[in-house]
Symmetry: C2
């Protein structure tokens, strides 16, 4: 993820650079570049960066977009606006997948909050990337767009969430033991009428539980035993 | 998307509710619920909502999480923290996929900015959802988490970006015409030495252009013609 650069062109609103730095940090990105920022960093940027303070502190500033991406193998321009003429258009997921195949620095480039990217900035990049959104309201807040992009970049590299504690899965024999126990309890208590579909119903129910655990089956059987004891 | 509810439990920071409303609006979601908000809406919420002002204005407030999700078929709790005991853990993409299969209201539930969800709130939901993130810095800003979740929900429903203008694709015959033209120009100008691999090189280059257009081939041939005219 360290080879991925986030470039903010002419950011203007206090706090947005900090919020972008935080968004990057949550996804493991660290290389932030500012192109001709409209204002110096504000105290609100420091505050919004929270644990991304180091990303903010190490951000480099460039006079032009060309200088910020000169050493990149590809630059992807984010824009919500369709344009008649543009570089190749990709949706974000396709762009993140393509970036993941490039073994060299790549840049994702964001425009000014109000005006977006200029045409010159757009054509300085090789790809135009849209984040799929509601066509009537397709303009994301800058830092929120950075967050979604960094998330997809992480997902494109096969990110997963930590596995749950490993539990012993219930076997077919465990399940059949439960079903037999349920049937016995239902018959003895008079709950199971002749022609009842109860057997099919609880098989259908428990078959749908993903990763049913032996301990969960044992808890149900323990309760049945407790309820039916003489 | 109108069947998907975003629930914010005890939000406290001014502006975050508005930013969440904007994030929802960009992805076509409209049903926002607040559970026991720590403060009234602030002017900053209105300002942050921008074109999501209608989502903000129609947000309903509930005293408890249970009341906010009582009519939902499933509730998905967002948390960055792993817990020893929790509902079933899903990553966001899997959760969005599952939500897309449910033909009834479903809720995505977010905790307080500082403290997250309580254990009681967590177990009021049927699923615990993690956004894959850097393990050392896994806490997203509230509105940014809402943005990523709403984006995945939209993607799970097969969102795409608008197609580019339809151009006539270059055919094999167009390409062979270009290659013949290039070879003629290279031979006549003396650029093509005996044993040259130029023919293979330009085939390799132009074969890699996705969606190469007839008009693009014609522009290249026009330039060659202009350069080689006597």
């Amino acid at each position: 993820m360290s080879a991925i650069r986030i470039v903010l062109c002419r950011p203007s609103h206090p706090g947005n650079i900090g919020a972008a730095a935080r968004a990057m940090k949550t996804m493991g990105l660290t290389d932030l570049r500012l192109v001709a920022p409209a204002r110096a960093l504000a105290p609100k940027d420091e505050w919004m960066a929270t644990h991304g303070a180091d990303v903010l502190a190490s951000a480099r500033t460039h006079a032009t977009l060309a200088a910020a991406i000169a050493d990149c193998a590809a630059a992807f321009a984010l824009s919500a606006r369709a344009r008649e003429w543009s570089p190749q258009v990709l949706d974000l997921r396709a762009a993140a997948g393509r970036a993941a195949t490039i073994d060299a620095p790549v840049a994702f480039v964001f425009g000014n909050e109000a005006a977006g990217l200029t045409n010159d900035e757009l054509f300085a990049c090789q790809h135009l990337v849209h984040i799929p959104a509601d066509p009537e309201n397709s303009s994301l807040n800058l830092a929120q767009a950075v967050q979604v992009v960094c998330y997809e970049l992480r997902m494109a590299r096969g990110a997963t969430v930590p596995a749950m504690r490993a539990e012993m899965p219930a076997t077919v024999a465990d399940l059949e033991g439960l079903y037999a126990h349920l049937e016995e309890a239902a018959r003895e208590s008079g709950f199971m009428a002749p022609g009842s579909k109860l057997r099919e119903r609880w098989r259908r129910l428990f078959s749908r539980v993903p990763g049913l655990e032996r301990e969960e089956v044992n808890i149900l059987r323990g309760l049945l035993k407790s309820l039916t004891k003489k």
